[in-house]
């Protein structure tokens, strides 16, 4: 039997995709379904099964959230706080730096490298370096405060300062990525727009608000969505910057993912941890949809 060209093409296509199809079914979709399944069971990870308990895990989370000094409540409210502090400061700083970088010619490559270097560094190493910088008495920041006559600060040792201190490190680490994306966007804005605006007598302030910012809208949306998702998934920094990796002091820095790790892989309450991950997924989905809906504008070039 002779196959037509089209039939042969179809066979080749499926041969080419065969391994990937198996991968996506076995490693991505099946576990996704299993994740929902686990959240409705009293899951035992070593047996790979567990009795169906319906909504019990979710109920337990709900009850725990109502208790005083609850880890779950702390985890969700902290996670939202990381997003609210982190994402806007990251975006504003990155846009500022990108606008400055667009002004200069010499040393631009040098500055780009300096701003981007933390992004390629392991979060664990970053966490330790900042632990040392934040250290009371001997840490560089407190030494600097001493030098200018200001009182020493506890930073990550204080329940009120710990979360902003860790957020600052996350911003420091992720800034470079946003700078590069913004810079690429700024350099793609056709220069005739600027020239036309100058001829019309617009000043730099107007040009920024009327031309640069609106034209960067797709990039702002992209970076807001990506940034929000990465702050919602914060784990490595918090685990390595809080005492004994527990999200302290007094639960003030714990995140949803950290609680998943602790409940699932320290206490082996897999069903409970699984339910937390489902809630995290729903939170990410909801926030992403809202952001895409309200931030995106059609920009006419």
């Amino acid at each position: 039997m002779r196959l037509t060209l089209r039939q042969r093409q179809i066979i080749w296509a499926y041969v080419f995709m065969s391994v990937a199809l198996v991968f996506f079914v076995v490693i991505r979709w099946y576990p996704t379904i299993l994740a929902f399944n686990v959240s409705f069971r009293d899951w035992n990870v070593f047996e790979g099964s567990g009795p169906w308990v319906g909504m019990e895990n979710y109920q337990e989370i709900w009850e725990d959230a109502g208790k005083p000094r609850s880890s779950v409540t702390a985890a969700f409210s902290n996670t939202v706080r990381y997003v609210l502090f982190g994402v806007p400061s990251q975006l504003v700083l990155a846009l500022g730096i990108a606008l400055l970088l667009a002004q200069i010619r010499r040393l631009a490559a040098f500055f780009r490298v300096a701003y981007f270097a933390p992004y390629v560094t392991s979060a664990v190493a970053v966490a330790f370096v900042w632990n040392w910088l934040y250290q009371p008495e001997t840490g560089l920041l407190n030494q600097a405060l001493d030098l200018v006559g200001l009182p020493q600060q506890p930073f990550t040792k204080s329940p009120t300062q710990a979360l902003p201190s860790i957020t600052a490190v996350a911003v420091w680490q992720n800034l470079g990525f946003a700078v590069i994306i913004f810079l690429a966007g700024i350099q793609q804005i056709p220069s005739i727009y600027y020239e036309a605006a100058r001829i019309d007598g617009a000043n730099s302030w107007h040009i920024f608000w009327r031309i640069t910012l609106p034209l960067l809208n797709p990039i702002i949306v992209y970076l807001t969505v990506l940034g929000t998702i990465s702050y919602l998934r914060l784990f490595a920094l918090v685990q390595n910057m809080s005492p004994q990796g527990t999200g302290g002091p007094l639960k003030s820095t714990t995140t949803v993912v950290l609680e998943v790790y602790r409940e699932g892989f320290s206490s082996y309450k897999m069903g409970y941890a699984g339910a937390l991950t489902v809630l995290l997924f729903l939170l990410i989905l909801l926030i992403t949809i809202v952001q895409l809906r309200f931030l995106s504008r059609r920009v006419e070039y």
């Binding site: 093409q9 296509a13 490693i27 664990v124 040392w132 994306i181 793609q188």
Partner: protein
């Protein structure tokens, strides 16, 4: 989300060719005032100091003998490499390097091969179920990996991926094929003309050869970008290796580093030495390839 991402990719593809010519014209034509440039340099310099000081401080601390940490001095009075010798002889750092290299290399090679093959297929072939498959792959991007760790761990226990040398596969398997990479490659194969592929078909070349010998060489820059980001991402991966690796011989660098802190709580000179050992190799790779890496990110928007 798909549609939005697609629009973004298209706009990047269109403007990346346009951007270059305009960039050179722009600089000369836009009036720049001296003071504005001076302030720009000043602010960038101050920001740059904040960005690099932690790295310098890490390295400076790592070459100080312990007593110098208590009696504060910025530069080491009596620099020494003793901390490095101590850390390397008392911990398993060389093994952790090896593990990280094995895992990151394995998944990067796999990603290059499969992401480009599948991206190519989705761009150049027409077959029933194409849209369904494409959306099925892209849809996995919406699922945060945190939601999959318990199922993955369950599967790893069931199939014994958490025991012995199979752990390398156990650590690497979630990232051996990536939906983002497939999507990226699918976009880049747009630039390969179909006539070229048809001509090769006329010459009797088989489809695998056409992909490997004709199409792949034309998208080398995209593949290079994909490879670098995957390597960095796998090298720094933390949560999954932390869960899967069950003995210190199989820790990757970030996991080993994290446990190392537990063992040397207040010895900051040791911790900074370990942090330097873990981060300097990648920083050197970054400095060597910084042009390609930064250009790659600007071009693809890929998140490492």
């Amino acid at each position: 989300m798909n549609q939005w991402a697609q629009r973004r990719m298209q706009s990047i593809n269109q403007s990346s060719t346009r951007g270059n010519t305009e960039l050179s014209a722009q600089g000369g034509e836009r009036r720049q005032f001296l003071w504005a440039v001076l302030i720009a340099y000043l602010l960038l310099f101050l920001g740059g100091v904040i960005m690099v000081t932690p790295f310098f401080w890490m390295i400076l601390t790592s070459v100080k003998p312990a007593p110098e940490l208590v009696n504060f001095s910025f530069f080491p009075q009596d620099p020494t490499l003793q901390n490095y010798i101590n850390v390397l002889t008392t911990s398993s750092f060389e093994r952790w390097y090896l593990n990280s290299i094995i895992v990151a290399t394995m998944s990067t090679i796999s990603v290059i091969f499969f992401d480009s093959l599948v991206g190519y297929t989705l761009n150049k072939f027409d077959f029933p179920g194409k849209n369904f498959i494409f959306i099925g792959m892209l849809g996995t991007l919406m699922i945060p990996t945190e939601m999959l760790i318990i199922p993955w761990f369950t599967m790893s226990v069931k199939w014994s991926w958490h025991i012995g040398y199979v752990q390398y596969w156990g650590i690497a398997f979630p990232g051996v094929i990536t939906a983002a990479g497939i999507f990226l490659m699918r976009q880049f194969f747009d630039g390969v003309p179909n006539e070229l592929l048809d001509a090769a078909r006329m010459d009797g070349m088989n489809e695998f050869g056409i992909w490997w010998r004709i199409a792949v060489p034309l998208v080398k820059p995209a593949i290079a970008a994909l490879a670098i980001f995957n390597f960095i991402g796998n090298w720094n991966a933390y949560l999954w290796p932390l869960i899967l690796a069950n003995s210190r011989e199989f820790y990757t660098l970030p996991v080993g580093l994290s446990f190392f802190r537990g063992e040397s709580t207040t010895h900051w000179e040791k911790i900074m030495t370990a942090a330097s050992l873990a981060s300097i190799p990648l920083l050197i790779i970054f400095l060597i390839f910084q042009r390609q890496i930064i250009k790659g990110i600007a071009l693809t928007g890929l998140k490492g």
